[in-house]
């Protein structure tokens, strides 16, 4: 007689050499917990699942007298708590239809209980098998999600509106049913399999035994449309039937409506229609060209500014757009930065990113209104290099600065500012037209250049990168001082 799992009797029965009958994962878990508590080794337990009928009578105790050594119930030990990951794997593997599944799973938890954590690694022999079982079950769940085909029943026939037949290789029906509950909302459906069926009436799931013995034989007009789509979405120029078969194992094809049209599609594509991707049926129809003149087909676009067409250096290739200057056409102070950053490149406007926000702060501290200043950059395209998934700012080379000074010179000629504030070294080099200047020598010291005052301060991005708060405040103070000086220079100029 088989012992009933799920009670204290499991340990008694096992130690008496009786096989344990297990109907499902919950029962197995109860029994296993108990066996572990009495430290009963895997080889001493005989498990039988409900499906394994052949084994039902194979488990008689070898020696009935051994039952006399029944375990001492007082010797129970605390059982280790199993981690979630292991429990999930066990639960999945328990759905795998292999004859010794319960015995195998017990061996796994036994080893874990004895501190053998390697059992979870696929590099371990048991671990590899556990992973393989889990994978097979997940694969079957996935295939059932993918390859079930519902057929619609006439509305007058009542619930279920949609029925499907499937032959799963593992015990995955309960979890798959849940997938379709969330997919179908309040619409009723039924999935029949050789062992069991589930019916969803729109509110609750009903589990029953096998109801039908083959695929539902229904006429469904939707299926003809599906076959049309299936045939048309296939590109005969790319025929690769081997790849198709490796994705859908052959046992599924017989229940898929499209399975019946595949051989014909393969042979047609192989027999000459391969030169073009168009389906034969479409190619045979009468065609139409669209009678519209080429110049009428042009989309309406704003004429791109000339800056966008700039190819004076290579930076345009990897930038979104050129970022020109912004501000009053005759501002008296012009702020020149280095180059647009990530945000500026997307927005098409200078100083809108983090550096722009810091600049706003500095301008406020210096008592300047951003709206009265002309803001621009020495280089108009964003230069960057990939760093992980981000664009990392890269300092422009001298030749790129020189190429782009063409545009800065035009801005200077149009705006005619009295004072230029150069933010950082690239801006300074560009404004002075030479690579032989250093930030250190010029910072905070106004220079006369081409009849204008040029004053250099740090670039806001530099301030953002300063690690400690004290130095950062100091760097910001230099910027504020510089901008105040710019205002003073402006006043001197107007007094003269």
């Amino acid at each position: 007689m088989a012992g009933t799992a799920g009670s204290i009797n499991a340990a008694v029965a096992a130690s008496a050499g009786q096989p344990l009958l297990v109907a499902g994962f919950a029962e197995w878990r109860e029994a296993a917990r108990e066996l572990l508590a009495f430290d009963i080794a895997p080889h001493a337990v005989k498990w039988i699942g409900q499906r394994d009928e052949a084994d039902l009578f194979a488990g008689a105790p070898a020696d009935p007298h051994e039952a006399a050594h029944a375990i001492d119930l007082r010797q129970a030990r605390p059982v280790m708590h199993l981690p979630r990951k292991l429990m999930d794997m066990l639960q999945s593997a328990a759905c795998c239809r292999v004859p010794d599944r319960w015995a195998f799973l017990y061996r796994v938890v036994w080893r874990w209980q004895h501190g053998d954590q390697v059992v979870l690694s696929p590099a371990d022999e048991d671990g590899a098998r556990l992973h393989a079982m889990v994978k097979a079950v997940h694969r079957e769940e996935h295939d059932m999600h993918a390859y079930i085909r519902f057929r619609e029943r006439p509305e007058a026939a009542g619930a279920p509106r949609f029925v499907a037949w499937f032959e799963p290789a593992h015990d995955v029906l309960p979890q798959v049913a849940q997938h379709f509950v969330s997919r179908m909302g309040r619409i009723s459906w039924m999935i029949a399999t050789p062992d069991a069926s589930v019916l969803w009436d729109g509110e609750t799931l009903h589990n029953t035994g096998p109801l039908v013995s083959s695929a539902a034989d229904l006429d469904d007009a939707g299926e003809a449309l599906w076959l049309t789509y299936y045939r048309s979405i296939f590109n005969p120029a790319r025929l690769n039937a081997g790849l198709m078969r490796s994705h859908i194992p052959s046992r599924f094809w017989k229940h898929l409506p499209e399975g019946s049209v595949v051989p014909q599609m393969v042979s047609q594509a192989a027999a000459g229609a391969r030169r073009t991707g168009q389906a034969e049926a479409v190619g045979q129809r009468r065609g139409t060209t669209i009678p519209i003149a080429a110049d009428k087909a042009q989309p309406q676009r704003q004429a791109p500014s000339t800056l966008d067409e700039c190819r004076r250096c290579e930076l345009w290739q990897h930038a979104t757009q050129a970022v020109g200057g912004a501000g009053p056409a005759h501002a008296r102070i012009m702020l020149v930065g280095e180059q647009p950053g990530d945000q500026e490149d997307l927005a098409g406007e200078p100083f809108v990113g983090p550096a722009g926000q810091l600049l706003d702060q500095v301008l406020r501290d210096a008592g300047l209104d951003r709206r009265t200043i002309y803001l621009t950059n020495a280089v108009k395209h964003f230069k960057w290099e990939p760093r992980g998934k981000r664009r990392l700012h890269k300092t422009p080379a001298q030749r790129e600065i020189e190429a782009c000074s063409y545009w800065l010179d035009q801005e200077l000629a149009q705006v005619k500012p009295d004072v230029i504030v150069a933010l950082g070294s690239t801006a300074l080099k560009s404004v002075l037209g030479t690579g032989n200047v250093t930030l250190k020598d010029t910072i905070g010291k106004p220079i006369r250049h081409d009849g204008r005052w040029v004053i250099t301060v740090y670039h806001p991005s530099f301030v953002l990168r300063v690690p400690d708060e004290a130095s950062k405040q100091q760097a910001m103070a230099v910027m504020v001082d510089g901008l105040r000086q710019a205002q003073q220079l402006l006043q001197m100029k107007s007094e003269n």
């Binding site: 690694s121 590099a123 996935h142 999600h145 993918a146 079930i148 085909r149 519902f150 057929r151 997938h179 969330s182 997919r183 179908m184 909302g185 619409i187 939707g222 299926e223 449309l225 599906w226 049309t228 789509y229 299936y230 048309s232 979405i233 590109n235 790319r238 025929l239 690769n240 039937a241 790849l243 198709m244 994705h247 898929l256 595949v262 594509a269 192989a270 027999a271 000459g272 073009t276 991707g277 168009q278 389906a279 479409v282 190619g283 129809r285 065609g287 139409t288 060209t289 669209i290 009428k296 087909a297 042009q298 989309p299 979104t320 757009q321 490149d345 960057w384 990939p386 992980g388 981000r390």
Partner: protein
């Protein structure tokens, strides 16, 4: 024209688009609710066609009337193809019917340009809105964005769609100017940039209205112009980093009926597309940069070996790598060890030392991996084989030239 005829023409017209993914959407369920549809975050392929590509979405054009004249496209205005146009209700009904029968996970909708970019985009948004708001459809929706459309329409599309895509189609501006005279790389980049800015805004303000939660993607056609793989990969890298794309799809050019003289008559080798996908995966998930895989001076990926093996053979100074000491990102760079096995090796290493037999049980490709690793009980003979010799032994077997492809395929 009845629905079957339209479906035949407009699915045929849509099959040149490579993307058909339905992953990345937030979890949704219709349990106990009106309407239908669920997403689990992971896409499901519901079928495979004889070209080996999966069907996970109803991929159709709203119409294949098109006023543009892109040379690589079967629907260009000068092409003599049968034309059709779905009504909004037809697309909605097809999507719902196919979804209920479990044929698809959702809709991938694109269109030829009719009247204007804005008008076309409005129609696409209209269909998505009907599905979401009238039918409470919670399945996946991917809308192809028309680059010249008003940014307000792109914003509306992102409200209903899980994913938006703007196709760059060709890797260089020069090729786009030549083969797609009505398109402009500039407006394509601006459209991608505007989508990225909205995705960024959404990420910063989680309570703001939803916007394309599965992100944006694009497609590049390979082999319609003379661009080499270096150009293609570096363009892909620019797009990934600049616009935070989820995917770049590569579609080997398929010759089209009555092909214009400006595009080739023969398709590029399908293996080239495959190698680009492999290289792309190295960019997205392994931390490679394009310049490591191909020199800036240009060139194509090797067809006989995969790009990771090619990189390892060209960078032998990093190997053999001691799997018991190296860090995870370097282990993942060993040919024959994937991301998952790299993680497993690091996990196992905390418990005990890695041995050769462990790798066999992890089902690594031992022939590939052996020259590049050191384990507790194994180390290759140093300098035993030159990269050239290794390459010959690891390359895929050369195949007999295919003289009669039709016969062979049959």
């Amino acid at each position: 024209m009845d629905l079957t005829d339209k479906l035949e023409i407009l699915a045929d017209a849509a099959k040149y688009d490579a993307s058909c993914a339905s992953s990345g959407a937030p979890k949704r369920s219709s349990e106990g609710k009106d309407g239908i549809g669920a997403t689990s975050g992971m896409g499901i392929c519901h079928s495979y066609t004889p070209d080996g590509r999966c069907v996970s979405l109803l991929k159709i054009l709203l119409t294949n009337f098109c006023i543009y004249d892109c040379q690589y496209c079967v629907n260009r205005r000068t092409s003599n193809v049968p034309r059709a146009r779905f009504s909004v209700d037809e697309v909605v009904k097809l999507t719902v019917d196919f979804y209920l029968r479990n044929y698809i996970d959702g809709l991938f909708l694109s269109s030829g340009i009719i009247r204007s970019a804005d008008y076309t985009m409005e129609q696409l948004v209209h269909i998505a809105r009907q599905l979401r708001e009238v039918h409470n459809f919670r399945g996946y929706i991917h809308l192809k964005t028309i680059p010249d459309a008003d940014p307000a329409l792109i914003a509306a599309a992102g409200k209903y769609a899980d994913r938006l895509s703007v196709n760059i189609e060709l890797p260089t501006q020069a090729s786009v100017e030549k083969l797609a005279p009505e398109k402009s790389v500039h407006t394509i980049k601006l459209a991608m940039g505007s989508i990225r800015r909205r995705l960024d805004e959404k990420a910063e303000e989680p309570r703001s209205p939803k916007f394309a939660p599965a992100g944006q993607s694009t497609q590049m056609i390979v082999g319609a112009d003379a661009s080499d793989d270096q150009t293609i990969l570096s363009t892909a890298e620019t797009l990934y980093t600049s616009y935070k794309l989820k995917r770049v799809y590569y579609s080997a050019f398929s010759p089209i009926p009555q092909s214009p003289g400006s595009v080739p008559l023969a398709p590029p080798p399908m293996l080239r597309e495959h190698r680009l996908y492999q290289a792309d995966f190295l960019l997205r998930s392994y931390g490679f940069v394009a310049s490591e895989l191909l020199p800036a001076s240009g060139g194509n990926l090797a067809l006989d070996i995969d790009p990771k093996l090619a990189w390892a053979l060209a960078n032998r100074e990093h190997f053999p790598l001691d799997l018991n000491l190296a860090d995870a990102s370097m282990i993942a760079r060993v040919p024959g060890i994937g991301l998952r096995n790299a993680k497993r090796i690091v996990e196992l290493r905390r418990l005990r030392r890695i041995r050769y037999a462990d790798l066999v049980r992890l089902r690594c490709s031992m022939k590939k991996i052996a020259p590049f690793i050191v384990t507790a009980d194994y180390s290759p003979v140093r300098g035993a084989a030159s990269s050239e010799v290794l390459r010959r032994s690891l390359a895929e077997a050369p195949q007999q030239m295919n003289l009669w492809p039709e016969l062979r395929a049959a």
